[in-house]
């Protein structure tokens, strides 16, 4: 009697929809292990008494004849079948031993089955032993190894996404050495195209797109992350490093440029730039998505179920979702249109190091300057400087209380506050003023932030009794953070080589000379913003150039300037308090030449960086500790309704605990997925690779290893592979793939006998080899490769091959599809520009997911729209013409090829084998018919009676193109 085999299915089917994680009627939940000890609320009796079914309330209730007491209630469902009752009774009798769901228990090394293979070649390694053992039990015989051309086609597509060339096939067929196949596999694993094929798997999980999503769906430059993926597969980054770098590469000690770039994985969430949206709502949506995606990608656990309530059927509690969310809630991104924080990746590989060095320098200098101000501010004894009066243009209704300014009602975008400060009489000369903007409700703002503000400038002046204002010079402003969410620029004279003095140039001398200015980034000189939200008091210190004594009768005035909106709404300061100090260190800091040099260098370095063409890739970065957010549970998943205490980051109790002493951050979280004893990480990974090669996972539900996912078809094989990957191979992805494709199981012929069609139509038992439809990417890449059009260039910005006009048509977004010319027209599919709201139609039709959400499994379809794509899309039309031309050139030995030779060559280029006699004859018939029809066409009329216009192909070329169209559309061309 086994709980997982016999009892859990009964509980799942009949009990947990009321006594589960979402609903625990009568406080009874049969999802958690402690159900065994639970006491019924009404009866006061134990639900289950191990060894004593008659004392167990569960048995009493399911067998009760009293309609009021019976479970399940009569109006819900009929009574349990007697055999199920008997099972439950027996299970309790035998001690009611609970088992965790198989996938939540770490794999145990299985014994290798001892099976006698029908043929020696049927068993090449442990994988085959597990498969043969099951086949023997089912009484099925495995098919023999596939013919070499078919095998090479299969493994070439599987490893590189491209068909083999006829020459590669011929060489393999001719290779008599025992390691002939191994040599092919090693060649393919070493190909630079390996990464291009395997990146697709991860792009689906990473919800990769070249745009940000939602209404405007504007461009986001994330292609360097796609290239990182391709390279990670090519350089065979071990799977644990591969995942850890994507989740938390920025937190690794001495993080490299590549490791920071990898974290773009979790910045591929959508950003909503629609005017008038609530940025906190969409920041939260992105964070929730990261939680779901991280668990889906690493562990195939449906963690997103736990956003609103405890998991309906896995033992994961509601609170645990938010404890995990706390790992991600410290991130600095906030649904800003700029996608802040970003990392600049130079487009030219040889300039990447320079761009990276500049960014490191900028970060270091910024930290120095901000820290200098922050240290001084902390050491300063601040004295309140009360606000005495305030006016604004356009008018604002102010309230003054406790010396603090509060704006009520409506404030225009460009409001300018004139705030009069009452410097206490007799105070020492002022050296610095601190301006502070607190939230309306500081306690609540820590977890539920308020609307932010952007101040464009703070101008100080002493106003004499007669109204005359004398500006007060500020030596330097010190912001409170280096998390610069808002960029401030100023026009500065452009450095010029010629004489800059003299009269301004005349208008007629051209526009270029009239613009001697450039926008310089001066964020470090002035940054006073809580953009987009305010969650803790924010401040800025103005260190005065000289100590200031406000004469009696005069007043100190500060002008607060606004201009910028946050998501199309005004972003004014709503509360303001001011403090002053006479501490002399501020005078020194304000005039500190070394600091000034650093600030100037930052502005210069930013300008240098801007001159290196590249992409600003959104990456993960955590907020400075002082700005950390509090995480609380969202009642029913609603971010507007938080409840309970602040939650520290943590893992669900179902899984192994985090080792003691580790910091509670994302890196700890990422490494936790790879600590020994993790039940899911390795199993989920090997299952994904397996599915790519065989068309179905050992666990068919790639996306769900939980208790409603499908059980594994070969449990021992799954565990063996998982342990092999984790321990022996140390997460080496190429070694794992090599081991699988070298198995006899993978190499089998893919023929469906009537018996197999009846017994195992979906090939879950693996008596035959896989016969999968090409993926969307492979369909395109095959046509281009076979026709010779394919550009083999690796990496770079996404490209726009031809697509029908009018596919892109998005409100408030002016980006247009500009059809590529030259080699970029024929790049591999993985480089095609992917716009979320209007994705490349040819790929959607072949089941590439839109990638709005993490997608673990593509569902292959077979539709008439697919036929229309490969028959009529200009890409395939061009490919057919090129294929016909190429085949003709290559089939002819020094001269003109015969139609038969050309047909055979074209067929081999696409289908990776010679045509059968029937196929060759049928295609030849098509050629002859097409030739006759083309020759019979009336000559097109042209004005001058000249020959056929160049656009119309001559009959032989046209007939051969028709043959090429047919070959590209054969069933055999769509499978691997």
């Amino acid at each position: 009697m086994e709980f997982n085999t016999h009892i859990r299915p009964i509980l799942m089917q009949h009990c947990t929809s009321c006594h589960g994680g979402v609903k625990a009627a009568g406080d009874v939940s049969l999802v958690y292990r402690d159900a065994v000890e639970a006491v019924g609320k009404k009866s006061g009796r134990r639900i289950i008494v191990p060894g004593r079914p008659e004392e167990s309330e569960l048995i009493a209730r399911i067998t009760s004849t009293d309609a009021e007491r019976r479970m399940p209630p009569a109006d819900h469902a009929p009574a349990l079948a007697p055999e199920k009752v008997a099972l439950l009774r027996q299970w309790i009798q035998e001690g009611a031993r609970w088992q965790d769901h198989w996938a939540f228990t770490p794999p145990v090394a299985p014994a290798l089955p001892l099976v006698a293979p029908p043929r020696a070649s049927d068993r090449r390694g442990p994988i085959d032993a597990f498969v043969l053992e099951r086949l023997a039990r089912e009484g099925l015989a495995p098919l023999p190894e596939a013919p070499r051309p078919a095998l090479l086609r299969r493994v070439s597509f599987d490893l590189t996404g491209l068909p083999p060339t006829p020459e590669e096939t011929a060489a393999f067929v001719a290779d008599a050495s025992p390691s002939a196949y191994e040599r092919q596999v090693d060649r393919l694993l070493a190909s630079p195209h390996f990464g291009e094929r395997w990146a697709s798997l991860w792009l689906d999980l990473a919800r990769y797109a070249d745009t940000k999503g939602y209404e405007k769906d504007t461009e986001r430059q994330v292609w360097p992350y796609r290239d990182w993926l391709v390279q990670a597969f090519n350089r065979n980054l071990p799977y644990d490093r591969f995942v850890i770098e994507q989740l938390a590469g920025d937190l690794l000690p001495g993080a490299t440029l590549d490791q920071r770039l990898a974290t773009a994985f979790n910045r591929l969430t959508q950003v909503n730039d629609e005017g008038g949206t609530d940025d906190e709502e969409y920041r939260i949506a992105a964070v929730l998505d990261r939680v779901g995606t991280t668990w889906a990608a690493t562990s195939a656990v449906t963690m997103n179920c736990v956003q609103c309530h405890s998991h309906p059927y896995e033992p994961i509690r509601h609170r645990e979702f938010y404890q995990f969310l706390a790992y991600f809630n410290a991130s600095a991104d906030a649904d800003l249109p700029s996608d802040h924080p970003t990392l600049r990746i130079a487009e030219a590989p040889d300039r990447r190091a320079a761009a990276w060095a500049l960014q490191q320098e900028i970060d270091r200098l910024r930290r120095d300057v901000v820290a200098a101000g922050r240290d001084a501010a902390e050491a300063t004894r601040w004295q309140p400087v009360p606000v005495a009066a305030a006016t604004a243009t356009p008018a604002v209704e102010f309230r003054l209380a406790g010396g603090e300014l509060a704006a009520a009602g409506t404030v225009a975008s460009n409001a300018r506050y004139e705030v009069t400060l009452a410097v206490p009489a007799g105070s020492e000369p002022l050296t610095a003023l601190r301006f502070e903007v607190p939230p309306d409700d500081p306690e609540k703002a820590r977890h539920t932030p308020e609307r932010g503000f952007i101040v464009m400038g703070l101008d100080l002046a002493v106003v004499a009794p007669d109204g005359a204002a004398t500006p007060v010079a500020v030596g330097r402003y010190f912001p409170d953070t280096e998390n610069f969410t808002t960029r401030f620029t100023r026009a500065v004279p452009r450095p010029s080589s010629g004489p800059s003095e003299g009269p301004p140039p005349a208008k007629a001398r051209g526009k270029a000379k009239q613009a001697p200015e450039e926008q310089r980034d001066v964020t470090l000189e002035f940054h006073f913003a809580a953009n987009p939200t305010l969650q803790a008091p924010r401040w800025i210190v103005a260190a005065l150039r000289e100590p200031l004594l406000v004469p009696a009768g005069s007043s100190l005035r500060v002008t607060v300037r606004h201009q910028r909106d946050i998501t199309s709404k005004p972003a004014p300061v709503r509360r303001l308090r001011v403090a002053g100090s006479g501490d002399v260190r501020w005078t020194a800091l304000g005039g500190d030449a070394a600091l000034a040099a650093k600030v100037a260098r930052v502005s210069e370095a930013i300008a240098e960086l801007a001159r290196i063409p590249g992409a600003d890739v959104p990456v993960m970065a955590d907020l400075p500790a002082a700005e950390g957010r509090e995480t609380r549970l969202f009642a029913r998943g609603n971010f507007m309704d938080k409840t309970g205490p602040a939650l520290a980051p943590g893992m669900p109790a179902l899984f192994p605990p985090v080792p003691a002493g580790r910091p509670a951050n994302r890196l700890t979280m990422a490494e936790w997925f790879f600590q020994p004893g993790q039940p899911l990480t390795a199993r989920v990974a090997v299952n994904r690779f397996w599915e790519q090669l065989f068309g179905a996972g050992i666990v068919a539900t790639l996306e769900d290893f939980g208790s409603v996912g499908e059980p594994p078809s070969h449990p021992a094989l799954l565990d063996w592979l998982a342990l092999r990957f984790e321990r022996d191979l140390r997460w080496d992805m190429k070694a794992l793939l090599r081991e699988i494709v070298l198995s006899a199981t993978y190499r089998r012929e893919a023929r469906l006998t009537p018996e197999l069609l009846e017994r195992d139509p979906a090939n879950r038992l693996l008596a035959r080899g896989p016969r999968q439809r090409l993926t969307a990417e492979m369909v395109r890449d095959q046509a281009l490769a076979a026709s010779g059009l394919l550009s083999r260039k690796l990496g770079g910005p996404p490209v726009m091959p031809p697509q029908p006009a009018g596919v892109w048509q998005t409100v408030y977004n002016s980006r247009e599809w500009v059809e590529a010319s030259g080699a970029d027209r024929y790049r591999r599919a993985v480089y095609t520009y992917w716009k979320r709201s209007a994705a490349y139609p040819g790929f959607l039709t072949f089941d590439l997911p839109v990638r709005d959400l993490c997608t673990a499994r593509r569902s292959p379809t077979n539709t008439p729209l697919q036929a229309l794509v490969t028959l009529n899309d200009v890409v395939y039309h061009e490919a057919a013409e090129a294929l016909a031309g190429r085949a003709g050139r290559e089939a002819g030995e020094g001269g003109v090829a015969t139609p038969d030779a050309t047909i055979a060559r074209a067929f081999e280029l696409v289908v990776s084998r010679a045509p059968t006699a029937v196929e060759a004859a049928r295609l030849r018939r098509l050629y002859d018919e097409a030739f006759a029809a083309a020759a019979a066409l009336p000559a097109p009329e042209t004005a001058d009676g000249a020959a056929v216009p160049a656009t119309r192909l001559a009959p032989p070329a046209r007939a051969m193109r028709d043959v090429a169209v047919a070959i590209l559309n054969l069933d055999a061309s769509f499978v691997r």
Binding site: A285, V708, L868, L926
Partner: protein, 494 residues
């Protein structure tokens, strides 16, 4: 006696449904069938939507006898003001220009309104109309002739106050990208009657795609074969429908014959049923080239029809799309979705103002909607076709004051709290009004209808319990109505 007949019919229907579903489940062990079998294995009490792999859109009978066989959904993207069309508020007219009461503003999130806005009265005169005396403004005279054919729901509300999320909410049940649209669910559940045309067709006008983009007709986590197919006024009506310019139809036929012959031989050797599916799909594509072009060709209609709709063949217009909707309904297309963009009357510009852009939009849709309803009725199609009209949310009774300032033009901000939709045909009560808002048209005071309630009601009219039109994904039996309590609005069902 009649009751007995009805019962018999229902029993027979139930039996047929069960037989068909079981048949498909048992006999479709590959392709899509296998996929669904795999994903639904172990599940209890679910309907199966599996089909032979060659016919992913084969019609399946609904769970219950359906009142509507198909849907024409007229979505006014940008959200038209209910207060200028159907929700008459004389009190609001009297309060025009006065400060908005603070109770309207507390705890509410607006897209653009800030501070204290002014109330804004209806911008057009209203009058009672039809036998039931439903109030309507003077902007829709053609539509008004059908006022006794339609059922108003004046108490719609939604959770979303920005366009893209609200449109997604309405059409996919979720404010985020990635969920299947209503049309996808319906074609997944019912298939379509005409295999030579897509089962779910989308027609867009107004110069822009709606804010939610193509995700509004996406298939989300359902197989991509159920996504809406956008038919276009320019270029191929369906993407890739036409042969390349220098390929003739006989030439294409010869190629397809060769492909078919070779594929049949391939099947004889490998035995993969997917090969047979592919043969069938190529033939279907060939037929679709003709049937879709024919269906989308408005020049086949008479001058009288064009005069009635106000159509001009070749143009991208709502009028053309209404006429196309009728042609597609006639040809058995299951779900016909129209979007007409440009109703976002904030008052930020002339084209966005209630007094200028808005009446223009009314002119663009009024005559075609009137013509569509008349035409469907005359052809006996209205009874079995559910026509729905509405936006993604409503508009505020306050005048928008962007940045807290009076704006140059008159407009209203987004308002998720109340809006009006109307339904006609397909089993809804004609000449009926449901639900009410308060004197200002701000809050619902009677019979609130959530977006998910409307979805559940549409699904019920098509013959399904919305709980059962579901697919397991990410650990949940996903359905368009989500997990919150949902109510079928039985009161509006005839």
């Amino acid at each position: 006696m009649r009751d007995l007949d009805g019962l018999k019919r229902e029993l027979e229907h139930t039996r047929l449904t069960a037989v068909t579903r079981r048949h498909f489940l048992r006999h479709c062990g590959t392709g899509l069938g296998a996929l669904w079998l795999a994903t639904t294995a172990g599940a209890v009490d679910r309907l199966g939507f599996a089909r032979a792999p060659a016919e992913p859109l084969a019609p399946l009978p609904p769970q219950f006898p359906a009142k509507a066989k198909r849907v024409i959904y007229l979505h006014m993207a940008g959200a038209p003001s209910q207060l200028e069309l159907f929700d008459y508020k004389p009190v609001l007219a009297r309060l025009d220009g006065q400060d908005c009461p603070p109770s309207f503003l507390e705890g509410k999130r607006f897209a653009f309104i800030s501070g204290v806005p002014k109330m804004l009265g209806p911008q057009f005169p209203f009058h009672p109309s039809g036998q039931a005396g439903a109030w309507i403004s003077d902007r829709l005279p053609h539509f008004e002739r059908h006022i006794d054919d339609v059922c108003f729901v004046r108490s719609m509300r939604t959770d979303e106050f920005n366009h893209a999320p609200a449109q997604l909410m309405l059409h996919t049940g979720s404010p985020r990208f990635g969920h299947p649209s209503l049309g996808s669910w319906v074609t997944y559940g019912l298939g379509t009657e005409n295999q030579n045309l897509p089962g779910y067709i989308v027609l867009v006008s107004g110069g822009k795609t709606p804010d939610g983009g193509k995700s509004l007709w996406g298939s989300g986590f359902l197989p991509s074969v159920y996504q809406g197919v956008q038919c276009r006024a320019q270029g191929d009506p369906v993407l890739f429908l036409s042969n390349p310019a220098d390929v003739s139809r006989p030439e294409r036929r010869r190629v397809l014959d060769a492909i078919g012959d070779i594929n049949r031989e391939q099947h004889a050797r490998h035995g993969d049923p997917e090969t047979l599916t592919r043969i069938a799909q190529y033939e279907l594509a060939f037929r679709m080239q003709v049937s879709a072009s024919e269906a989308m060709d408005l020049s086949r209609e008479t001058a009288a029809v064009h005069a009635r709709y106000g159509t001009q063949p070749g143009a991208e217009s709502f009028a053309n799309n209404c006429l196309l909707a009728r042609r597609l309904a006639e040809r058995g297309v299951r779900f016909i979705q129209l979007y007409h963009w440009g109703w976002d009357s904030h008052g930020a510009s002339e084209s966005e103002a209630l007094t200028t852009g808005f009446p223009k939009r009314c002119l663009e849709v009024d005559q075609p909607i009137g013509a569509l309803l008349s035409d469907l009725k005359e052809r006996g199609l209205l009874e079995e076709t559910l026509v729905i009209w509405g936006g993604e949310f409503g508009r505020t009774p306050m005048r928008e004051n962007r940045n807290g300032q009076e704006m140059k033009f008159v407009g209203r901000d987004h308002h998720p709290g109340a809006f009006t939709v109307w339904l006609a045909g397909g089993g809804v009560k004609p000449g009926f009004s449901y639900g009410a808002t308060d004197e200002m048209g701000y809050n619902i005071v009677e019979n609130p209808v959530e977006v998910r309630d409307l979805q559940a009601t549409i699904i019920r009219l098509l013959g399904f319990d919305h709980h059962k039109l579901s697919l397991p994904f990410q650990g949940l039996d996903q359905k368009i109505t989500g997990v919150k309590p949902t109510r079928i609005v039985r009161e509006i069902i005839a």
